[in-house]
């Protein structure tokens, strides 16, 4: 079936991996904001998750302009049960070897690699289907050959299952490509599996693909993977080099890098939240001409109204607004609290965010609070309404080791609350300004190094105990957010993005079809 035969059921096909509507967080709120911000557009959502049991109920009400929502869980055992040995398509596995050479060295093989990729991706439901990967002798030969050539970890069974677990979702995605309802353009909010799905969809149905990246998916994955205990590392004490990741970790990282590159190559518009990330995308293989920045915008009317509710004095309360997960480095925040509480009587540190995503980490944090004797200073509030929370606090604090463009800082600024944050993502830009005009507005808070409780404590104390400095920072924050980070600004930019994305693409001409595909 070709695209003209399919009548679009929605304007935008949103590809969401591990976020809206099942996971609360910055990206999810942003997705929700975009959907509700464009009531004139209709959306079809494809949610990709790991396993159904990893997610609870939906965290968001589904807006009325979402006309379709489907969920797929990539790490669940598929119902594909017919196990039967097959010989394997030797030609396809020959191309597969070329493809992996290309992934290992994209610059050297750019032209040939692109053609090969195109061919293999086109056969994911055909000559390179799931049974070829799972049950063919050719697949076994390639896997064992690669193990012999490259694997530095002795365990073959771990290597084998790493390869299988990693690649298995690809065929699930290939099936989604056929079943996902027709839309006028695709919009993925990360690279990774969702971004790869976007690339497949674009290739199959010839529609524009927009990529909005909040963080840099491959970078975040890398952090997750370095910390993941489920990845085997069988090197002995003598073999182990602490500065080098185990082979299976490296495999996973390279895998996601390859998925990311395929998504960048396929995307017509690559949107970063701020300049540092855009540069990173370019470095990771995005074509500079397709990249741009659209910072987040917040509801300035809603949050601006909170300023009048603020008490006259600065409340000696700081609040970390975010999920209780390792990436937010809650432990540094707790340690900083210990230092501040000793010097500022009556000081309160709140943590407003759900704890269900990483219960083990949340338990560790609570244990740390108890062991530092901070039970009376630190409160775990769970998910909170920001409009009620922000007027009560004196500082918004972020201790994350990775952030993109944290909305909570902007919302705090709008409500008249300055901030202390680690130097990650766009925080430097939000606190001190980007261009000279922006800088002239002054500092709206303090940026400290990551994992430095002492510096964080000093910065918090400096603001909370110095009223003129606090008020100056609050004023700078209000001015900056009103000028650069409002919703109308963001919606205008995205309106333009969607307007160009929904325009039908030219059908590919014969000349643009790679030579490899034309082989009989």
């Amino acid at each position: 079936m070709s695209e003209p035969d399919r009548k679009p059921v929605a304007d935008v096909g949103l590809l969401l991996e591990g976020t809206f509507p099942y996971v609360a967080g910055g990206v999810s709120s942003w997705v929700h904001q975009i959907i509700t911000g464009f009531p004139e557009l209709t959306f079809a959502i494809c949610f990709l998750g790991s396993r159904r049991q990893d997610y609870g109920k939906m965290k968001y009400a589904i807006p009325a302009n979402v006309v379709h929502l489907e969920e797929h869980y990539l790490n669940e055992k598929s119902s594909y049960t017919q196990i039967k040995s097959v010989a394997g398509d030797a030609d396809m596995f020959g191309l597969n070897a070329d493809l992996h050479d290309y992934f290992r060295n994209p610059q050297a093989q750019a032209v040939r690699g692109g053609e090969v990729l195109e061919t293999i991706v086109g056969e994911l439901n055909g000559r390179m289907d799931r049974s070829q990967f799972l049950y063919s002798q050719a697949s076994w030969n390639y896997t064992t050959e690669q193990y012999r050539l490259r694997c530095t970890d002795p365990s073959f069974v771990d290597y084998f299952w790493t390869v299988r677990t990693m690649h298995a979702p690809i065929w699930m995605l290939a099936a989604i490509v056929e079943s996902f309802p027709p839309v006028r353009c695709y919009h993925t909010v990360s690279t990774g599996y969702a971004g790869f799905l976007g690339a497949l969809l674009k290739r199959r149905w010839n529609r524009n693909l927009v990529l909005s990246e909040h963080g840099i998916y491959t970078k975040e994955r890398r952090i997750d993977l370095y910390a993941a205990r489920w990845i085997a590392d069988n090197r002995t004490l003598l073999q182990r080099n602490p500065t080098e990741a185990g082979y299976f970790r490296q495999m996973w990282i390279r895998f996601f890098e390859a998925l990311g590159r395929m998504c960048y190559d396929a995307s017509d518009q690559i949107i970063a939240l701020y300049e540092a990330n855009r540069l990173r995308q370019v470095q990771d293989g995005a074509e500079p001409g397709r990249t741009s920045n659209i910072p987040n915008g917040i509801d300035i009317v809603k949050f601006g109204a909170l300023r009048s509710q603020r008490p006259a004095d600065i409340p000696p309360i700081m609040c970390l607004i975010g999920r209780v997960v390792p990436i937010k480095d809650i432990k540094t925040y707790i340690r900083a609290t210990r230092i501040i509480a000793t010097r500022l009587p009556g000081f309160q540190a709140w943590i407003a965010g759900p704890e269900d995503e990483s219960p083990a980490y949340a338990a560790e944090c609570r244990a740390l609070v108890a062991s530092l004797g901070l039970q009376s200073n630190i409160r775990f509030l769970g998910f909170q309404k920001l409009t009620e929370l922000l007027p009560q606090i004196g500082l918004v604090v972020l201790s994350s080791i990775s952030e993109a463009l944290p909305l909570v800082l902007l919302e705090g600024f709008a409500a008249g609350v300055p901030a202390v944050s680690t130097d990650v993502g766009s925080c430097q830009q939000l606190m001190n300004g980007l261009d000279p005009e922006d800088r002239a507005l002054g500092a709206s808070g303090t940026v400290v190094g990551i994992a430095d409780p002492q510096a964080m404590a000093e910065a918090v104390l400096a603001l909370l105990t110095d009223a003129p400095a606090w008020h100056a920072a609050a004023r700078a924050g209000m001015a900056r957010v009103e000028r650069y980070y409002t919703q109308p600004l963001m919606f205008d930019r995205y309106r333009a993005v969607y307007a160009s994305a929904v325009v039908p693409r030219q059908p590919p001409t014969a000349a643009s079809v790679p030579a490899v595909c034309r082989k009989p």
Binding site: R148, P154, S155, F156, V157, F160
Partner: protein, 456 residues
């Protein structure tokens, strides 16, 4: 479970020629004990001094009746033997010992009901002309022997070989003595005596089972739930026993080689005795089989799967596979060597022994062929054992089906070719099946890593 391999290795590790001999003797005893004792027991009862109360033809009637009982019950319980053993070992592997005993009781009950029904129907139809007591004893015999096989296979599954041999020795001694005392009562008396011994043997087995798996539940039927037992193993159990007996059945039913003995039962004077005597010649082969496959092969088999599961390198996995292949090859070679020697010895000494036991020298050529055939059967058993370890049930099903079909058809062919060819049907059927089984093993094992990883 330490199993028999452990004990054998202990004997082998003492590192002296005598300990090696002891290990093989021990293995020979426990691997061949039950059926050697069965054959010897039957022969012993047959060789009891005939007198006016028990003339020779009564002895023949008795022996033929029991032979049919043994064959009938082996084929009948073939339905359950392997499938139930597998079910038990799966429970043991999952460390769920509680349901084992009640299910054993369940299997015995079902066997008794079904066996009793089959035997009862036959007693009222085919055996209508016989005395009530004879018919009653045959029905009892069918049930008791069925239970004996179920209990034996159950105990072998638990690797309690020594216990089994002890019980068989005791049971058959009792059978012989009781038959001797009751032979005045004709064929019925002999049967009562024989079955009495068997019944006590069965009681001993049940006692051992109860002691091994104490339980609160009396009976359960979990293993009969659809999907609990492998249908392929049910088929293999029946086909293997049928395949082994096929040539005997052919010769019993053919008018030119058999005569009616009692009721519908026919026996073949020229065919039976050489076959049963030939089976005594595979004791050395069975000993080698047990020693080589329960120690060397199982050791490498375990190492192979440990390397697979516990993160060995691919090279290591392949090496274990190669060692496993080598242990299979050398085990089969040893069986062949040992059986060649055994057959040669039989050829040398059989004439003298036959003369001593006043068995006609005309039996000798058939006896030699059967000795070779029985040796091939040991090798086939070894290959099937490897397939069972590798859990290749479809292959075993093919092998046993082939054996059954070939043994039936080739035996019928030899029947028409003439006396000189008797026994060759059985031998050639085994030879072809063995060669095919080896080729299949070759193919399976060269793909072992692929199968193990990709197709699970």
């Amino acid at each position: 479970m330490a199993g028999i391999g452990f004990e054998l290795r202990k004997l082998l590790n003492r590192d002296s020629y005598f300990s090696l001999v002891r290990a093989y003797a021990y293995a020979g005893l426990i691997s061949s004990g039950p059926w050697v004792l069965s054959i010897l027991g039957l022969l012993a009862i047959g060789l009891l001094p005939a007198n006016a109360d028990a003339p020779q033809h009564l002895m023949t009637q008795f022996q033929v009746s029991v032979t049919y009982l043994i064959m009938g019950t082996l084929i009948f319980t073939g339905l359950i033997q392997l499938a139930f053993t597998r079910w038990v070992s799966d429970r043991l592997f999952a460390r769920e010992t509680e349901p084992i005993m009640p299910n054993f009781a369940g299997v015995v009950l079902v066997t008794n009901l079904a066996g009793g029904l089959v035997a009862g129907v036959l007693a009222f139809t085919a055996f209508r002309g016989e005395t009530v007591l004879y018919r009653a004893m045959m029905v009892c015999g069918f049930v008791v022997l069925s239970d004996v096989w179920v209990a034996t296979i159950f105990l072998s599954g638990l690797k309690l070989y020594k216990t089994i041999v002890g019980l068989f020795a005791g049971g058959y001694s009792l059978s012989v003595v009781a038959a001797l005392l009751l032979r005045g009562q004709g064929v019925e008396g002999l049967l009562i005596g024989y079955l009495g011994g068997q019944f006590f043997m069965l009681c001993g087995m049940v006692f051992i089972v109860l002691r091994t798996f104490p339980t609160r539940r009396l009976i359960a039927f979990d293993c009969f739930v659809p999907g609990a037992m492998f249908p392929s193993l049910i088929a293999v159990g029946v086909l293997y026993n049928l395949g082994i007996w096929a040539d005997k059945i052919v010769f019993w039913l053919a008018p030119q080689t058999s005569s009616a003995i009692i009721g519908p039962l026919r026996a073949s004077v020229i065919y039976d005795l050489p076959v049963f005597l030939a089976y005594l010649g595979i004791i050395p082969g069975m000993a080698v089989f047990l020693v080589r496959f329960e120690t060397d092969f199982v050791e490498w088999y375990d190492k192979f799967y440990n390397a697979v599961r516990k993160g060995g390198s691919l090279q290591e996995i392949s090496r274990m596979r190669d060692e496993m292949v080598f242990s299979i090859r050398s085990g089969l070679f040893d069986i062949v060597k040992m059986q060649t020697l055994s057959v040669l010895l039989m050829v040398v000494f059989a004439p003298a022994i036959f003369a001593k036991l006043s068995i006609s020298g005309l039996y000798l050529p058939l006896f030699y062929v059967d000795a070779v055939a029985a040796s091939l059967q040991v090798a086939l058993l070894a290959v099937m054992n490897v397939f069972f370890y590798l859990d290749k049930r479809p292959q075993v099903l093919i092998i046993t089906s082939m054996l059954t079909v070939l043994n039936f058809s080739l035996s019928i062919v030899t029947l028409h070719l003439g006396v000189a060819y008797y026994g060759y049907g059985f031998a050639v059927a085994l030879l072809i099946t063995l060669v095919v089984a080896l080729l299949m093993l070759e193919r399976k094992i060269s793909n072992l890593e692929f199968d193990t990883f990709m197709l699970q």
